[in-house]
Symmetry: D2
Subunit: 298 residues, 4 copies
Amino acid sequence: MPTLEGIFVPFVVPLDDEGSINETELRRYLDWLIERGVHGLYANGSTGEFLRFTPEERRLIVKVACETSAGRVPVLAGAAEANVTETLRACETYAAFGARAVAVVSPYYYRLGPEALGAYFHEIGSQSSLDVLLYNIPMFSSPLDIVTICRLSELDRIIGIKDSSGDISFMQRMIMEIRFNRPDFSFLTGWDPAIAAMLFVGATGGVLASAGVVPELALAIYASVMQCRLERAKELQAHLIRLFDVMLSTGEFPSGFRAGAQGRGFAIGRSRQPMSDLGVDCKLRVGQKIHDGLEVLA
Amino acid sequence: MPTLEGIFVPFVVPLDDEGSINETELRRYLDWLIERGVHGLYANGSTGEFLRFTPEERRLIVKVACETSAGRVPVLAGAAEANVTETLRACETYAAFGARAVAVVSPYYYRLGPEALGAYFHEIGSQSSLDVLLYNIPMFSSPLDIVTICRLSELDRIIGIKDSSGDISFMQRMIMEIRFNRPDFSFLTGWDPAIAAMLFVGATGGVLASAGVVPELALAIYASVMQCRLERAKELQAHLIRLFDVMLSTGEFPSGFRAGAQGRGFAIGRSRQPMSDLGVDCKLRVGQKIHDGLEVLA
Amino acid sequence: MPTLEGIFVPFVVPLDDEGSINETELRRYLDWLIERGVHGLYANGSTGEFLRFTPEERRLIVKVACETSAGRVPVLAGAAEANVTETLRACETYAAFGARAVAVVSPYYYRLGPEALGAYFHEIGSQSSLDVLLYNIPMFSSPLDIVTICRLSELDRIIGIKDSSGDISFMQRMIMEIRFNRPDFSFLTGWDPAIAAMLFVGATGGVLASAGVVPELALAIYASVMQCRLERAKELQAHLIRLFDVMLSTGEFPSGFRAGAQGRGFAIGRSRQPMSDLGVDCKLRVGQKIHDGLEVLA
Amino acid sequence: MPTLEGIFVPFVVPLDDEGSINETELRRYLDWLIERGVHGLYANGSTGEFLRFTPEERRLIVKVACETSAGRVPVLAGAAEANVTETLRACETYAAFGARAVAVVSPYYYRLGPEALGAYFHEIGSQSSLDVLLYNIPMFSSPLDIVTICRLSELDRIIGIKDSSGDISFMQRMIMEIRFNRPDFSFLTGWDPAIAAMLFVGATGGVLASAGVVPELALAIYASVMQCRLERAKELQAHLIRLFDVMLSTGEFPSGFRAGAQGRGFAIGRSRQPMSDLGVDCKLRVGQKIHDGLEVLA
């Protein structure tokens, strides 16, 4: 049985007028997501702008997520600090908070080759006090290849991968190479427009930015595939794609997703990235697509 | 009903020792493919190295395919000549040969933007004497975007698209935007490792280089999805991926696929690209994977 | 002494209202260029849209260039036919026409690796009846690397390289690795905005699309560097950049350069690429920059 | 007069056996560089692995550089913290330490468009208590375009740019658009293999990783260009290229440059990136090229 299954939310972080973390609103938002039925939370992901917070703020975000969940759903904690030592320190802290696992993005800025990537994750996987999820997002960071992922899957501490490439052949290659030896290994896609197809080829779930905006829709797609209602799954997927595409293409990522959560009634506030926020027109477009996506569920 | 359904073979072209087209062997090879049950032939595709033949040779290849098929299966003919006038001339010739449609790759070398691509295909789609299949292969030529494809789908003569991007979200986007207005539009994937998943999201078929090597396996995947035997489809897909990956990664494309057809008993000969042929070891590896892939069908 | 020195023009081809080659205007245009003092002509380059002409038309273009030059300046002839055999045939024809050398672009569409590229050029370099210029244009075709170029420079028939990468470190690397063993080897840049700097690091000349529009300016830059009037060279270079940038960025390449030649009084006509021509506003902008560039010479 | 001229060293940071900053050795190394005659120090650059240190460590590195320089040469301090607020805080600290300016890399991980980049730098440029150098390194972070750079050059606090693109046309475009309005603006290249050519087109200096290994050679190139001894400059440039290429291509960047500084007698220690260090053979190769490069100066 895979360790992690279902829909995880890489949640955005509400900020107040001074640009500080709005802890109250974050709790209210996470509570709402859990009540909608999401299967887990994912703190400090790309959608959560982990890079724009200080190490201390990242810790606060994980703490709030763990406290709000209070054991109701597993919390995955992004943990890509400045270097291996700092990352391992964060792991300890997150373990103490009650996180289920850490997700470690492959190194960014410098583009590392397979051997160096393997060494990096091997060191973390060997020493971490908490289970580790690999995080592959080739658009933003050094790409992991199949051979390296397979080797890393031999470490017990490494329990799965979140892959945001959107490449379905890559997903199937990983699954067919790893599943036999590691039936517990989790394969989560981070590419919302392909969640139905990814589940079809064997992914165990998704970490979906749009699930922070329309958790109902993402969960309905997941349920439809689980129940083998494939036509329904594809119909719902089409609606998720329309919403996702609007949120992705307007403004700078993840502004569209922040606007989406705002559209659901949360005071998300301005991003820390100057001028990356959306205009009123864009917000209306996002709002319309949210409405369309939810209506199909009614 | 989609116009084109099933598995089409973008066949390689056997050459004799002087490097000329081995017409006899080509007929024998195409006849074998048709007898295996493939749903159509695709002449002068990327796997068929259309670029390395002269305009006259390309005509010969289509002629041989049409004659060998003799109406048993539809023949699609790649028709990307030097310019629109030459392409339209080729269309007339191919219509006279009995080809079902022409497939026109988007312009290569220069990378054209959406507007110029739209104008190019609009001119061909408006004037062609034969149905037209768009051919999108971003790895090699100017990429087509969804909006342009949708507009082109308003022309009756344009009956479908072959998309070799391997991007399943892109496939689903095309389908959800076009199918309602054009229920006859055909969506063929050119990405073998994703054929099962592409059919799952609604593709009507595939143009698969590996179907020229193991038509039995490609056809079995297609049949499994049609019969909703999804687990079987995925199992077979895994074998196709293993074979495809070996053929793609050894030597220069499409050497591995030429070696594969050779491995099935046809005298394919050396490619026209100097030194792009595989060593003995590679041929053995390809042969082993062909064997593995066929054994699972037994 | 390098075999090829100075400013070569990769000229555009005038077309009449039916889209056929306007031979009379082509002769008039080439004659004008030679009278302006350009050091050579370059037929069937990227700017000359070699890909949009038939093999027969490409032969006609080289024939017209050779006849018009009538020995006044050397003619380089682009010769990238469908395969090695066809390319060698073109070489023979071009030799008979009186071309000085053929320029062979590295294979496009398929992206070949270093070994296959080396084999391709080795076969041409060993068998050609005419001197060969390598043509590296990574934006459009398979990139050549330093090691492969060095090896190919050991063949007598290979007399130089046209490099359109615009990468000045790459140019200097080539020069420092090859010049000692082959003092006759020619290094021509195809990147107009860097011609002054490329000459500074040792390039022997340029194949400049903008020299077909403002030969006076390109020649003045060349002369300034030869005379060590470096400040003047840079001042003129700035004007060439402004014109080049406008011609490159408006419409689809090489529309801006066709509009530029039109602006100098030649009936270039519409391109064969549908809708790639410029609007009136763009033509005015190109015209203004031509005017600015020439005024600085007065 | 440009504010910043000459050769600046983006120095590597010595680490002890526990992986902590070896402060004593760092002081000794920086002192050696200043005594060799470098025109300035550049703390926390890409070569300095700023990303692999904590915010506190980055402060320590700048402090050590300022103290060691003690006013002998200007210190530039890389300051790309998690967000604008944190970056401004770092600026204040670095001003107090005595840094001459901060260098701010364009945001990485997310790829921002021109408008968002402009807003980001505008906010920093408007509020910083210290002069600001833009840092463009398209290989690793969001690329800055000419128009955005020109607009930012209107802010007094923004005094220059470090550009590591290696694109000489880009450098000349910047200079010709900005110099007239801002004669004090500094243009530093970060691309060692083109330093001579960049100075030729008007760059005011370089931030050169190899200057941390062979400051003598980098300084000799700079002096040669200043004295118009261009042939000598190019000869020395060739040696710098050979050394740079070896250091860049072996191991993961910046391992080769760390090995180079080690080769000059400093205890640089292992990098924080697991397994990114070089083998003995590579170190010997680096050592040989250092020797060759210095010998030409003798």
